[in-house]
Symmetry: C3
Subunit: 208 residues, 3 copies
């Protein structure tokens, strides 16, 4: 799952950079940041040297995703919207959420810390990539994406809290994350804004 | 003071995100980032696991601030400009500056390190929130805000340098920070830009 | 070399902030971030307290660069484009790349980790400064700049891999970085974008 996720995340990030007409260095950086910055931030938060800087296997997968993005951009309009990419991305979201929850639990963080680190592991790379592309991270106002990581991380913490084994908690976490994400894509879920609650819409809208 | 600050900072950050029509996840993230990212960066810089990920009490205060922002947005035009918020924010600025100065001094940093970490602790969360909202951090070109943290941190370092006890230094730091901030709001202080020094104005202005 | 680099980087960063009409606090922050954020990120990635927070000598050089930027902005149109600045910046790029490669090798990182940390050390500060100025880091789509750090870091790693002494590797790294950078400025090198490979240009351009 982690393998699929690294390739998919790098592909999605690199495709965004291609669309912005970044040069090949920029494309590689945005792709690798999307795939690895979440995990690197997780490692920094629990005081570890980021895994991606210590092993070569994971980076090769990221570079494969970048190469796929470059190759596919020549034959496809938007390889990051292809159904296969969406499913692979959902699998990656689940894998990264689970990895974050496990590391955070091992580091003795609080329940909030477990959910926060799981979510950062899953969506931090994409959020950082959006900042490099000079936009607000899309997870903050669009789509039902980071919420799947929050739900998965909460499932992990809950499972551990009721005494389940680590492996059971991991399965619960991954299942919840990938399940809610696939459902969100299929049914077009999104979260409400405060403006949807009525009377504030115009007043606040006017101020922008 | 720290309690007041966490609630006020989260309220101010969440209000900004509401104004940008972020969804409820985005509102919570920007609010919590405003309240906690400064302290988390401080902890990373001195190689500690961020406190906010280890305890639950502080996070509850942040979530209270986010909830207040959502609730007050329905009844007030801009809860972040309310006089009570401005005072609470000044108290938070002083509390966070002091906390940063104490941690930095304990970690054996240089005089510059103490002032830098105190300032990052106080304004780093707001600066990061502005980046998430896709703008330049307001502290860099507007208002007399970060300067209060710089002055407070310098007061702490100076007090320690002349042999004062830690508690005396903390009182000096908090007093200077909150005092200069309240004065800045009342009298509309701001720092000069280079353009204000005359002949460069047009030449540099033309280049933008 | 490190001395020259710190002054040059701070000067370049501060000049950008002056052009955006930031106030003097903002100018100092962007200048110091350009000079020190790359090294600080390097230190965080290998779990060290950033050197710039522990010693005073380096910070003085950064402040000197900021002061030069303010002073020169009054008499020059754009001190950051002056030939002397460009050469000093190339020297700094080489010095920071080499420092990053040494620290990363000492920390036992993989070949990719060495190149990545060397590059982050060299260009991370400038990239972070661009984010503070609310733009995409220029290294991602413009110029042949970060590539010099990648080549220098690769030369270091290669030299160590074939059994060269650390000092030989450092000389190779610095020579490659400064040499390719000076050549890039003189001959106007840049990296290709994917759009340059033809048929994708219009399709992807249309989507923006």
């Amino acid at each position: 799952m982690n393998t699929v996720g690294l390739v998919a995340f790098a592909l999605v990030g690199a495709t965004k950079a291609i669309r912005e007409e970044f040069d090949v260095f920029g494309i590689a950086v945005v792709g690798l940041v999307t795939a690895f910055a979440g995990g690197a931030t997780r490692d920094l938060l629990v005081n570890r040297v980021p895994l991606a800087l210590r092993s070569l296997g994971e980076i090769s997968l990221g570079l494969l995703g970048v190469g796929l993005a470059v190759g596919l951009s020549v034959v496809l309009d938007s390889p990051d919207d292809h159904p296969i990419t969406l499913v692979a991305d959902a699998v990656g979201l689940a894998a990264f959420t689970t990895a974050g929850a496990i590391v955070a639990t091992d580091a003795g963080l609080s329940g909030f810390g477990v959910v926060a680190v799981a979510t950062i592991n899953a969506v931090g790379g994409g959020a950082f990539a959006d900042i490099l592309l000079d936009r607000s991270p899309f997870i903050l106002f669009d789509d039902f994406y980071a919420s799947c990581a929050v739900l998965g991380g909460s499932a992990y913490w809950l499972a551990v809290a009721v005494g389940a084994a680590g492996s059971t908690a991991a399965v619960a976490c991954a299942t919840v994350a990938v399940g809610t994400r696939v459902a969100a894509v299929n049914y077009g879920w999104s979260l409400p804004t405060v403006q949807m609650f009525g009377p504030t819409r115009e007043r606040i809208g006017d101020k922008r």
